[in-house]
């Protein structure tokens, strides 16, 4: 399964790569990184959305994660599953909105990777 990670924080990349080092080695998953909503749309546009999962931050300059979610849901059928990563603040509101837009799950920061892995396993099966 291909996971597209969308976050404007650059250190997300080594963090995910190390956290998923075993899964990457065993080729269970493949990670791609983009740093904004716009880049994410361009990437999906170019590489297709099949067999992939999107893991996106919400607060980013420019297009927000929720806008990205909304656009993906509208542009693709069926849309690729999208998981949102949210900060602690404004949980309820962000959560409600992500849910109503069709997000598959929500994770608050700091991320609990064991839970995230469970979720990914569930979605890929």
């Amino acid at each position: 399964m291909k996971i597209l990670v969308v976050d404007d924080e650059k250190d997300v990349q080594p963090m995910f790569q190390q956290r998923f080092r075993k899964e990457i080695r065993s080729k269970e998953i493949e990670l791609e990184f983009v740093f904004s909503g716009e880049e994410a749309l361009a990437y999906i546009d170019k590489h297709g959305h099949r067999n992939s999962l999107i893991l996106s931050d919400i607060n980013m300059p420019g297009m927000s994660g929720l806008d990205l979610l909304d656009k993906i849901q509208k542009a693709y059928s069926p849309p690729p599953p999208t998981i949102m990563m949210i900060s602690a603040y404004g949980d309820k509101e962000n959560l409600d909105q992500a849910q109503s837009l069709g997000a598959e799950g929500f994770f608050t920061k700091p991320l609990d990777f064991s839970l995230l892995k469970e979720k990914i396993k569930m979605l890929s099966s």
Binding site: P14, M15, N59, P61, S64, S87, Y89, G90, Q97, K109
Partner: protein, 791 residues
């Protein structure tokens, strides 16, 4: 950039000179400088002992410039003994004879002693029982301005005389009010607060009436009340206006002064006469230099017949300035020499009540115009030192500028830069002192509102006086009418004064309440922007914590794997793991520090100020607040979005600022910028920094008038610039002027305090000697530019 004007008002009559001229030392008195005053005073046994009395007086005149008699306890105890022996008239004349010369001695201790004595005298003679006691009190209060003004006690002076003003107003004591306002006017003028100075002089004028008090005390102490004082106030206002560059207005005040002068019975002494005509000549010289000879002739005549040696010295100084304006350098030099020799012969001080007597400066100007630059430093430096010791900043600025220009012409750039640096330090000091003086007295501040009315009244009066010249034929009729009008005007004025007074008191109370409300509002402004920050901070802290937690968890896992790899002796894996471990450790550290910085800035923001200046990385500060602001706004308003970026000068030097204050300003501007781009297509906010080399020191002509001169900050220094720009709809012209005003807000009532930008303005300009400007264009955006000096 700001303007300067003359610090030194030509104050009134030279008391000492008058004193000598009215009370010449009795010829019979044998003076021995080795005598001691207390012994001479001790010799006065009865009221009739005029010989002993005269001897004491003569001794004081001869020894007056060497000792501060106020110091001596023996003198003081003799004086209190004489209070019961001499009659009031003689007793207070004796007191003043000692006080006047003692108060102008230029040592710090003498100045403090004179201040101390005046305050004690005012306290002990608060309710005068005789005319002579009252005049002595007024004269001492008036004369004490000199030690206050010429020392570091000027702020105490403002406070003290403001209190006296309030008390005199309560007692409706117009004599004391006119003196106190006169002194305050002088203080504010020294501090370069022209409008305030003018206000107080006008106020002082207002409390005077057209009766010349019929006793020789008024003349003796320098014409402190009545028409002669009116002449003085008009002269001061005239000189003030000329120094401020409004020469026509100055001329009007001076001519009004001449009008009052002509109303005075010729038996009375008016010490300002010569100097007033000299200033008329000066005004004429500035307006029409080539046709001012006539006025100078009148001034010279008045100086010869009515003036003192000081008047003569100033006459030749102004004459030199006049010749310089006309390019007549030889004549200018002759005039300078005359002024200088009078100054030296009569040991006149450099800083006189009329302002600076500066032969070296004018001599240097002549030399400068003759391109003989090398002699200038030697000429100027001694005079500059005297000016420094006397806190004479206006003259100092002129001379330091000339010195710097001379060094530049000589080609000694190191000394030029030293001189410019000293000048810049002085200018900074002046600006900050003016700021603190501005806030020193709230009571007086309020009254400024009423001042404009009075100014209008006076201007009218001045105009009318001009017109009357055309109607001389009808003078008889006019006299009758004007007498009636004057009475009516006087009655009206008194009535309106009473109304004004009660209105002022009411205003005072309201403004006190307003001030306390304002303090609360400033506090809530701080808290409001803190609230906006909190959400941003939560986001900003969660992000680094995300990394700290995860990378440290990861390192634990990696350590386990490392143990395994070591056990299996898989060298490649060991090397890989160690590399990752080390990289992760760096990231933990980095993000931990990031969180720490955020918490720190939050604490800084909520702290109450009184922060100290410290070297601050403005780039880091700008970057951090940009992110905080963005996330804060996003947290509050989900629909909000905008691009933001930084364009930071990587070589930006650290600058000494109060970081929480500058943080507040930057945050405020960024918040505003984000607000401004709401609903705009492709909204964008950019924060940029750069360093700016300042233009080299502006070279300009010398201000002969002592008028406005550009005082741009010197070259060789640089500043940094922080720019916050947005691509919003811009600020409409009608609002642009008001944005830095307190309480101005475009937000709906209750949503904004309207203090954000005005606080920012104060922080930048008053707190950091910087500048904040705005550039805005309809539909293309707004740029706020902050400039901060580097040193």
């Amino acid at each position: 950039m700001y303007t300067r004007r003359s610090q030194y008002l030509p104050f009134t009559i030279i008391l000492v000179c008058l004193f000598v001229s009215i009370f010449p030392p009795p010829l019979s008195a044998q003076i021995d400088k080795d005598d001691h005053l207390s012994d001479l005073l001790n010799a006065i046994k009865t009221n009739r002992d005029t010989a002993a009395y005269n001897r004491a007086i003569s001794w004081i005149q001869v020894s007056r410039d060497t000792v501060s008699l106020l110091y001596e306890t023996t003198v003081q105890s003799e004086l209190s003994r004489l209070e019961g022996i001499l009659d009031d008239d003689e007793y207070y004349r004796l007191i003043l004879s000692i006080y006047f010369p003692s108060a102008v001695i230029e040592t710090v201790s003498a100045k403090y002693a004179a201040i101390q004595y005046a305050m004690e005298f005012a306290q002990n003679h608060n309710q005068p029982k005789s005319k002579s006691e009252e005049y002595a009190l007024l004269a001492i209060l008036r004369h004490a301005r000199i030690p206050f003004r010429n020392s570091d006690r000027i702020y105490d002076g403002i406070r003290y005389y403001s209190e006296l003003a309030a008390a005199a107003k309560r007692d409706q004591d117009s004599s004391r009010l006119t003196i106190v306002h006169y002194v305050l006017g002088g203080f504010y003028n020294r501090l370069d607060l022209y409008e305030k100075a003018k206000y107080h002089f006008l106020k002082s004028l207002e409390y005077l009436d057209n009766r010349q008090p019929m006793n020789d005390w008024n003349d003796w102490v320098g014409g402190i009340l009545g028409l002669s004082a009116k002449v003085n106030r008009c002269m001061i206002l005239g000189v003030l206006s000329i120094d401020d560059g409004d020469i026509e207005e100055g001329e009007r005040y001076l001519k009004l002064g001449v009008k009052y002068l002509n109303m005075i019975d010729s038996t009375h002494l008016v010490g300002d006469e010569a100097y007033m005509f000299l200033n008329l000549a000066k005004a004429e010289s500035l307006l029409r230099p080539d046709s001012s000879d006539f006025y100078f002739e009148i001034a010279l005549k008045k100086t010869a017949s009515k003036g003192t040696t000081m008047d003569s010295a100033f006459y030749y100084q102004e004459r030199a300035a006049n010749y310089l304006l006309r390019g007549k350098l030889d004549s200018a030099l002759i005039a300078v020499d005359k002024s200088k020799s009078i100054k030296e012969t009569y040991r006149l001080s450099t800083i006189s009540p009329y302002g600076g007597l500066l032969p070296a400066y004018y001599h240097s100007l002549v030399m400068f115009n003759r391109n003989n630059f090398s002699v200038i430093p030697k000429l100027l430096e001694p005079e500059i030192n005297v000016l420094k010791n006397n806190n004479a900043r206006f003259e100092l600025q002129k001379e330091m500028k000339l010195l710097a220009d001379a060094y530049q012409q000589i080609g000694d750039y190191r000394k030029e830069s030293d001189a410019l640096r000293a000048l810049q330090d002085l200018q900074h000091k002046i600006v900050s002192e003016a700021d603190s003086a501005r806030s020193i007295n709230y009571e007086i501040e309020k009254e400024m509102e009423a001042a404009s009315i009075q100014m209008a009244v006076l201007k009218n009066e001045a105009k009318n006086s001009k017109k009357t010249n055309y109607y001389l034929i009808g003078i008889a009729i006019l006299l009758a009418i004007s007498a009636a009008t004057l009475i009516l005007a006087f009655l009206n004025k008194r009535k309106s004064n009473d109304q004004l007074m009660s209105k002022n008191e009411e205003l005072g109370r309201t403004l006190m309440q307003l001030q306390s409300t304002q303090n609360q509002l400033i506090h809530s402004e701080k808290m409001a922007s803190l609230g906006e920050l909190t959400a941003g901070i939560a986001h900003e802290i969660q992000n680094p914590l995300n990394f700290v937690n995860n990378f440290s968890d990861l390192n634990r896992e990696l350590l386990d794997e490392l143990k395994e790899a070591v056990a299996q002796n898989d060298q490649e894996e060991v090397a890989d793991l160690i590399k990752d471990l080390s990289a992760n450790e760096t990231k933990i550290n980095h993000h931990g520090k990031r969180a720490e910085e955020i918490v720190k800035s939050m604490l800084m923001h909520s702290s109450t100020g009184s922060g100290e200046k410290e070297l601050t990385d403005i780039n880091a500060l700008a970057d951090e607040y940009l992110r905080l602001s963005y996330h804060g706004l996003r947290a509050k308003d989900k629909s909000f979005n905008a691009e933001f970026k930084t364009e930071l000068d990587p070589d930006l030097p650290k600058v000494k600022v109060i970081p929480q204050d500058i943080g507040r300003v930057v945050l405020n501007l960024i918040n505003n910028a984000f607000q401004a781009v709401k609903g705009i297509e492709k909204p964008e906010v950019i924060v940029s920094t750069k360093k700016i080399p300042l233009a080299p020191f502006e070279k300009g002509g010398f201000s002969l008038s002592g008028g406005r001169s550009d005082a741009s900050v010197g070259g060789g220094f640089s500043s940094i610039q922080i720019t916050v720009s947005d691509n919003g709809s811009g600020i409409p012209d009608n609002i642009k002027k008001k944005i830095f005003q307190p309480f101005f807000t475009t937000k709906p009532t209750g949503q904004g305090t309207g203090l954000g930008l005005s606080m920012s303005y104060d922080i930048i300009t008053k707190g950091h000697n910087g500048e904040i400007t705005v550039e805005t264009k309809k539909d293309s955006g707004t740029k706020f530019i902050i400039s901060l000096p580097i040193n």
